[in-house]
Amino acid sequence: MNIKKFVVGCFDDEAVLFPAVKKVRKAGYKIHDVYTPFPVHGLDAALGLRETRLHTAGFIYGLTGTTTALSFISWVLTKDWVQNYGGKPHFSLPAWIPIIFELTVLFSAVGMVLTFCYLCQIAPFVKKHHFHKRATDDLFVMVIECTSKTNLQETEAFLKAAGAIEVNMQVAETGWWIGRYDMDRKLFESKTETITA
């Protein structure tokens, strides 16, 4: 369980969001995440996130596939079950290229998708706290993580000034869970306190 306090600000235009991200970071707030309905190019750089290395993993999975296919087929056809196909060489590399290629692609694709799911911690039946329902529709939702020292009112006012159309405070679990979560605190009902300013 990793329950934290957050101030959530919703923006309806990415042209407002970018300067807001800059201002919020400059003011020293810690942005937990920004949830967007589609990939906003440049936002990861604006948030100071480093480039993903998922593609490198894909390359390594691909190489694994190549090695698996090549070593397996050559073992079968030159060691384990040596057969004479029309007097052709046992080690007939050109004929193996298609399967070697297919396994390279297969290993790389399957490995990358699984790694992607693992890194993002997504899977069927996995539940997470969603800060705003419209984050998958038309809002850009900026979530600021609070510490015990954070002045909530001030943070909310700051987000309003930066152009947020809706601001609220939420107490939420940052990890994922399966099934019902935390019966007492009823977080699964996602109670939010909306501050009208």
């Binding site: 309905p37 998922l54 298609p98 396994l103 692609v105 694709a109």
Partner: protein, 482 residues
């Protein structure tokens, strides 16, 4: 960093009308949340009926053996493999649209990629049925997989194109499915977050894997899409190349030609786009998606059709030329005596008319942008491409080296036809379910291009067009301190 996104007016808008992000969601999710129309039910039940007839045909095939089909000497491959190649070919357009057009940065793919990818997956499912049931003793189908067994261990022959096919088709299916589904995740999350009913909340909650739209997740998602596109591009070319190896590596006159791989790939793209047109024209009409699948999209696909149709035409003529120029009497006879002429000559000329002559009409812009004509042509092309495979397969083998074993005339039985109709049933049953329960257009991708390529947003850029360079720079780089 510039906050104003600019795209040239030379490009047609990809999304028509005045739309906000929310409108995009509403327009696309609407059909999922509404009750299906009567037309949907009628189409769905017809598909299921066809599917059931297919199941019965396969039941006959498994119970009584493939003697239920009219295959024999010398036509050992008939409708079954013709249909296999035809369906695999259709299954190429989806990946072409989603992968190759992504790498080429063709913005118009966003409107059609989701449905085209779904079509790919269903077409490959249909294609896979034919070689599997053709095995006869289908309960031993798993023998094609290399696994440690008690027969030796006896391994499959890795030098055989038929085994390459097993790997190619199964890899293609898996990768297409992963590509399609990873793209679906954010859109399923959109539906989940709007869901009102309990069942819908549960279904889309499970299906969307708990997607939240986090910036880091999007960054990884984009990287994943790009690499999967990069992998799928050679993959899609390899799959039909390998299918063509089934023929090209044999020593049968009419099959033994090195031109097959590129010729098959072009033909696959050609027939695939025709099938995409057939489906898209109906889908946009029935689901009111004319603003997303615009005339511009249809025209772009028609351009691909005329290009690939012409490549296929060149391949047909090259084949004929080499059959004559190669001076091999068997090759010459296979083409000029038994293919262009002879009892199956009519099928060759249907192929020529449908695939080479008629698509040339798409050189006229008026016809490329005519919906009725496009629909008609998409059907014609698919008929033509079916005949291409029939011509290649049957007319090359109905007369072999030994005239005493020549087949009189191969025609399919009702169960061969039923099997084919059954795959239509499977295909359309899947497509109907997909169009009802899944977003047929990639919602997130449309939103991504909306402000650069949406009609109303492009109109706003008219003022920018008239600015001088200095003014333009000052305006677009406002507040930029980098």
């Amino acid at each position: 960093m510039s906050l104003i996104k600019y795209e040239s007016f030379v490009r047609e808008p990809l999304v028509d009308g005045t739309k906000t992000y929310n409108d995009v969601t509403e327009d696309i999710v609407y059909t999922i949340e509404a009750k299906p129309s009567r037309l949907w039910y009628i189409g769905f039940y017809i598909s299921v009926a066809l599917l059931l007839f297919g199941v019965y045909s396969i039941y006959r095939d498994v119970t009584y053996g493939i003697g239920q089909w009219n295959l024999g000497k010398t036509v050992g491959w008939g409708w079954d493999i013709t249909n296999f190649v035809w369906w695999v070919g259709i299954g190429h357009a989806g990946t072409l649209i989603s992968a190759i057009l992504l790498l080429f940065r063709q913005g118009w793919r966003t409107g059609v990629n989701r449905a085209a990818e779904a079509m790919t997956i269903f077409a490959v499912m249909c294609a896979g049925q034919f070689p599997i049931w053709h095995m006869g003793r289908v309960w031993m189908a798993f023998f094609v997989m290399p696994y440690p067994n008690t027969r030796g261990a006896l391994w499959p022959n890795f030098n055989s194109p038929l085994l390459w096919d097993v790997f190619a088709i199964s890899t293609y299916f898996t990768v297409s499915l992963l590509f399609w589904y990873s793209g679906l995740l954010p859109d399923l999350a959109t539906i989940r977050d709007r869901a009102k009913t309990k069942l819908r909340k549960l279904f889309y909650g499970v299906a969307s894997f708990g997607w939240s739209g986090s910036t880091k997740h999007w960054q990884r998602h984009e990287s994943l899409s790009l690499v999967l596109a990069g992998l799928s591009t050679p993959l899609v070319l390899s799959v039909h190349t390998i299918v063509s190896f089934d023929f090209a590596t044999s020593v049968v006159p009419g099959w033994h030609t090195t031109i097959f791989p590129p010729y098959f790939v072009a033909g696959a793209v050609f027939s695939g786009f025709a099938m995409v047109q057939t489906l898209m024209l109906i889908t946009r009409r029935v689901m009111n998606l004319q603003d997303y699948i615009t005339l511009g999209h249809i025209e772009a696909m028609n351009k691909v059709i005329v290009l690939t149709g012409s490549i296929v035409g060149c391949a047909y003529l090259t084949e004929l030329f080499i059959a004559w120029y190669g001076a091999n009497p068997y090759e010459y006879d296979a083409f000029f005596k038994y293919r262009l002429a002879g009892p199956y000559g009519w099928s060759y000329w249907i192929m020529m008319t449908c695939n080479v002559v008629s698509p040339q009409l798409f050189w006229f812009q008026k016809l490329r942008r005519n919906i009725g004509f496009t629909f008609f042509m998409s059907i014609i092309v698919n008929i033509g491409m079916w005949f291409e495979r029939f011509v290649i397969i049957v007319t090359s083998i109905y007369r072999d080296y030994l005239p005493s074993s020549w087949t009189m005339y191969y025609r399919p039985t009702i169960f061969e036809i039923g099997f084919y109709l059954g795959t239509f049933g499977l295909f359309f049953t899947c497509y109907f379910l997909f169009s009802k329960y899944f977003p047929v257009i990639a919602i997130a991708e449309i939103k991504h291009v909306l402000k650069t390529s949406g009609e109303s947003y492009k109109a706003k850029m008219a003022d920018l067009e008239n600015l001088s360079v200095e003014e333009f720079y000052a305006k677009t780089h406002h507040g930029d301190h980098h």
